[in-house]
Every structure is written in C-alpha cells, then in structure tokens.
Amino acid sequence: MSIKSFREALNEALWQEMERDHRVVLMGEDIRGGNGGSAGEVEAYGGVLGVTKGLWSRFGSSRVIDTPITESALLGMAAGSAVTGLRPVADLMFMDFFGVSHDMLYNQAAKFRYMFGGKARTPMVVRGMIGAGYGAGAQHSQSPYNIFATTPGLKVVVPSSPYDAKGLLIQAIRDDDPVVFCEHKTLYKLEGEVPDEPYTIPFGMARYTREGDDVTIIALAAMVQQANIVADKLAAEGISVEVVDPRTISPLDEESILESVEWTGRVVIVDESAARVGFAHDVAALIASRGFHALKAPIELVTPPHTPVPFAPSLEQAWVPNAARIEAAVRKVLEA
C-alpha cells in the first residue's frame, strides 16, 4: 500500500491490465502524442492530462494507438474491435465529446448483445473527463453520466477516490460489457492509499465514506469530497451525517441507498449532471417509491441550474454544487 494520486492509480490500472492481457489496447487522440511531428519518435503527451504516460514506451504503437481527432471512428473502432476479440480502452478525452460520436455507443455497442440474441460480447471501456471547476467552458465541463445511464447495455462508473479509480478501472477492463468510465477532472491530483497489486471493485456496490445517523448525503465523484467536508464540519456541531457514494450509477446499489435512508430518514442528493432528468432525480424517485415511509423530511436536491456551464470563474463557482450549498441543504432537511 502506498500513497498515489487518482491519475497514478488510473495509470497503474491500465499498465497492470495491459501486462496481464495482450488483448487490452488503448486508443485515442494524444494518448501517446508526437506522432508525425518534427521531433521524431517521442511520447509527447501520454494523454492530455498524463493518465497514459509511459504506456507507449512500454507497450508500443500496436497497443497504444494514437488516433486522429475522430470520435465517431474512435468509438466505432472500439466497438468493432471489442466484438471481434480485443478489449479496447478508448479515451474520449472530454466526455462532452460524446455528442460527436454517440451513435457508436448508443445504437451500436450498447445494443449488440441484445439485438444479436445474447450472442455478442462487447468488452470496451470509454474513458473521459467530466466536471466543472477548471474554467474550461460549456463544451469541456459537463458531467453527462446521466445520459449514458439511461441506455440499457451500458455500465456507468463515476469514481471519487484513487483507491476506487484503480479498482473500478481494472473491473471495467475485465468486464464483458461496454463501460463508460467518468473521471472528474478536479480529482486527478487527489491522493490516497492505493495497493500496488491489481484488485477489482465490483460494480453496483456503494461505499459509505462517512457513517452517520441524522442525514444521508448521496454524492458522486468530486461531490463526494464536498459532502465529506460538510460531514466533518457538522460533526463538530453534533450533527451526524452519512455519505453514500454509489461509485457506479449503472448498475446502481439501490439497497445501500435505501438502507441509509431507512436509518436517517433525511436525504440530500448532490449531482453535477443536470437540473432536470439527472442522477439526483432518478435516486429521488427510487427513494420516493421504495423508501417513502422512512422519510422525515422532503428530499433535497443539490444540482447545477438548468443552464450550460459558464466560463467566468465567478459564474462557474455559482453554477457548480459546493460544500456551502450542500451544508445549507442538510440544515434544511434537519429543520423540516
């Protein structure tokens, strides 16, 4: 066990899976970088945020495949190679770019198994960054995991810690279904304890990052860190907050969510995806239909407003859910 960053944990997962299984290949723009430039054979990038650094030097161009900026062909190639024997990990870079390429995931990879009567396996992973906080503007800051989760056939992973990032990515690569792996861009430098050896975390198994009695906060990715801040702060006031991180939203660990709601009776759901028809609304519906009897207060949702992600830091900070808004929501459900 040693301290590693979220980025290092992902890199280690890719490295170890590529060592283990020759069918695992990486593909995406600049996952190596430097192809065709004037500098000759170099590894110029290793991914725009360095997640795939060093992998080309170790595994070479046949397994670390730099592609043009061509998201449709990238996900199509991933889908077509997955259903014929490879285990590709496609790097979409920013998950926002799914808009360019979604047919290959939405109409093709996600449906092969069903449409073909259970005779296909499509073991592909699509990695991509999500999240606001970097001033990256409306087309590089979204968290569209809710959109992926509406599609039967896809699995959707949204890790919040280095430990989870490694274990869930290894699980994603070994999984026989298409997996969308959402990496919040503000988490890459987050450090935590990560075992050196390979390990997997099963999908559909939530983690309680804080245990408490008074209020349940359900959160994903960077919002788990914000929820933990709130839980730790309120603990000093004698308010006991439980934080549930589902870690995957398809499959979703409904039982752990409902168990916590049964215990506390008060719920705040934090979700960076959408003000409408998002993850928060799905979980709220679950609780309303199956945990209503336990509720002592209306469910409180903390989401962005129904607007694109703004650019100016002052606006972006107003847009994205944060600890202050989560704290206000917790106090509201306690007062109800």
Binding site: R23, V25, S62, R63, I65, T67, P68, T70, S72, A73, L74, L75, G76, M77, A78, A79, G80, S81, A82, V83, T84, G85, L86, P88, S101, D103, M104, N107, Q108, F112, R113, Y114, M115, F116, G117, G118, K119, A120, R121, P152, G153, K155, D175, D176, D177, G204, P251
Partner: protein
C-alpha cells in the same frame, strides 16, 4: 475467375438471395412479418462477388438492406427467415429482426439500421485482425445514401492512418430512400471521393459478378498482404422500393422493367457461364434453392415467438 465449382457456388448464393427476397416480397403481404423489409433484389452480384473472397475469420458489416450480405457470408437461411418472422428460432432469437441479423461465428457483424453504421465497426474488426494476427480482413457495406455520412469519412481516414486490412464497399443502388444519388452525392462519384482519403478506389458494374469479384480480388490481396484499405464502388440499381410498400413515385415509369429485362445480375452471370456449366446443373440449383426457401418459410411460420420473459435477458453479460 472462380473455377467451375466456385462458379456454381456463386450462382447458388445469388439464387438464394433472389429467391429469399422475392419470396419475402410475396409473404410480406400476408401481414405475418413484423416491421420493415428492405429487399436486395438486383444487387446480388455485389454481395456474392465480395463475399466469395471471404471465410469465417473475415468480418463484414452490413446495412439495413442486409439479407443479401448475410446469405453471401454464410448465414443460415432458416435462422434468417425465422429472425425476420420474429421467432425464437431466429439467428438473434427474435430480438434483432430484418435490420439486425448477425452471426458472429460466420463473421457477420450485423445488418445495421443506422445508415453509415458499418464502416467504423469494420475498422474495429480490421484492428482486431491486425492486432491479433488472425490473417483476416474486414469489409463494410454502405449505400450511396450512407456514403454521405461523416462517420464514413472518419472511418476511411482512420483505416488509412492505421493501415488496416479493411475494404469499404459502396453499393450505389441509385437511391437513398426516395432521393437520387445524382442529387445527394455532391460529386456524383463515390469512388473518386474516396481517392481523396488516400485509398485506392475503383468503380465497377455491380450487376456484373465478374467485375465485382475481380475488384475484390485486388482489394483483398492488398488487405491480406498488409498494404492497407481500399474502396470499391459497385453500381447496381435496386428493383424494389426503399422498403416493402414504397410506391416508388420517385422512379420513372419503366425503370424497373428495364432493369429486369437487361440488368438482371443472375441472367448476366448465366450468359457468361453457359459454355462452362451445364444447364442441368443450373436447373438443379434452382430446384434445390426453391425447396430450401419453401422450407425456411414453413419453419419460420411454424416456430414459436419468443416467450415474454425473454424481453429481460441478454442486455448485459452480467449486471
């Protein structure tokens, strides 16, 4: 040119496609077949001319008009017919239908109801072949309508960049739904456009089996020897509408009659081989194929529909 055995095999495949499609044209009027049908009649020489160069290790990706490709690639006629009828004995157990017939064991990656869907998937299959060193190649079929899709251009570029063993076959059958290729393909020349991507590209008469077979021979030899992708544009007008029930108001009177009289791929084939293959051998194939299609329809009609609980299965390998 194939040997005598190969010629008779190619003829049998084309006859199977013809009988299969013409029988569906009739059976569809009974109301027993759910959904849409897009028939391949008139284009038989393309699917067969291409697939006669392929084996089960090679993959093809198809279109919404995919029955001909499936038959040419070796899909089981009974399984196909049952699938089209939505029965549990179908190749996809009744969950795919006419537009999604697939058989991965035969290297059939699926008919595809998204226009232009196959080329990126074929690029992926070609990547598998190259990376896993199977010796296989991949082929995508796309229509003139699909040739205008952006992801098709992306797929061609990717194949050139990565030098993959893939052949992009564009079947120019005259119309994308009800819109003429002479309107929708801006350059009016799909093969010429492909050359701009750095691919060798040829344009052939898609009613001429031998022209298609020859062009594919060159393309597949390139692909198998590591020289990269190619494009074939094969021109053969379809005889039926976009879908069964299409009144074809966009076609001039007499256009289809002219095709039937002068551009029938099977008749053109028979003329070329009449001195090589005895007529009695042809007649025997015709009889056998007619019986096989009769049996496929009878079996499909008699088969059970999938049980209702099957709606829930096969979404994931594990969830």
């Amino acid at each position: 040119m194939p040997d005598k055995h190969g010629l008779l095999k190619a003829y049998r495949k084309m006859r199977e496609i013809r009988e299969f499609e013409e029988r569906l044209h009739v059976e569809n009027t009974t109301g027993e077949i759910p959904g849409f049908l897009h028939l391949y009649t008139g284009q038989e020489a393309i699917a067969v001319g291409i697939c006669e160069h392929l084996s089960d290790r090679d993959y093809i990706g198809s279109t919404h008009r995919g029955h001909g490709h499936c038959i040419a690639k070796g899909c089981d006629l009974n399984g196909m017919m049952a699938e089209i009828y939505g029965k549990e004995t179908g190749l996809c157990r009744g969950k795919g239908g006419s537009m999604h017939i697939a058989d991965l064991e035969r290297g059939m990656l699926g008919a595809n109801a998204i226009v232009g869907g196959a080329p990126p998937l074929a690029v992926g299959a070609a990547l598998s072949a190259k990376t896993l060193e199977t010796g296989g190649v991949a082929v995508s079929f796309t229509g003139d309508g699909g040739s205008n899709q952006g992801l098709v251009f992306e797929a061609m570029n990717m194949a050139v960049v990565l030098q993959l063993p893939v052949i992009f076959v564009f079947e120019n059958n005259g119309y994308g739904e009800g819109t003429g290729h002479d309107y929708a393909v801006g350059s009016r020349d799909i093969a010429g456009r492909a050359e701009g991507f750095g691919l060798p590209a040829v344009k052939v008469d898609g009613t001429d089996f031998f022209a298609v077979y020859g062009a594919m021979g060159t393309a597949v030899a390139r692909a198998r020897s590591g020289q990269g992708p190619s494009v074939i544009e094969a021109v053969a007008m379809r005889w039926h509408g976009h879908y069964e029930g299409d009144a074809m108001l966009y076609r001039a009177a007499g256009e289809v009659a002219e095709l039937r009289a002068n551009r029938d791929p099977l008749e053109l084939f028979l003329k070329r081989i009449e001195e090589v293959i005895p007529q009695e051998d042809i007649d025997a194939v015709d009889r056998e194929v007619a019986l096989a299609i009769d049996e496929a329809v009878a079996r499909a009609r008699a088969a059970n529909p999938p049980a209702a609980d099957q709606v829930f299965t096969d979404v994931y390998v594990a969830y």
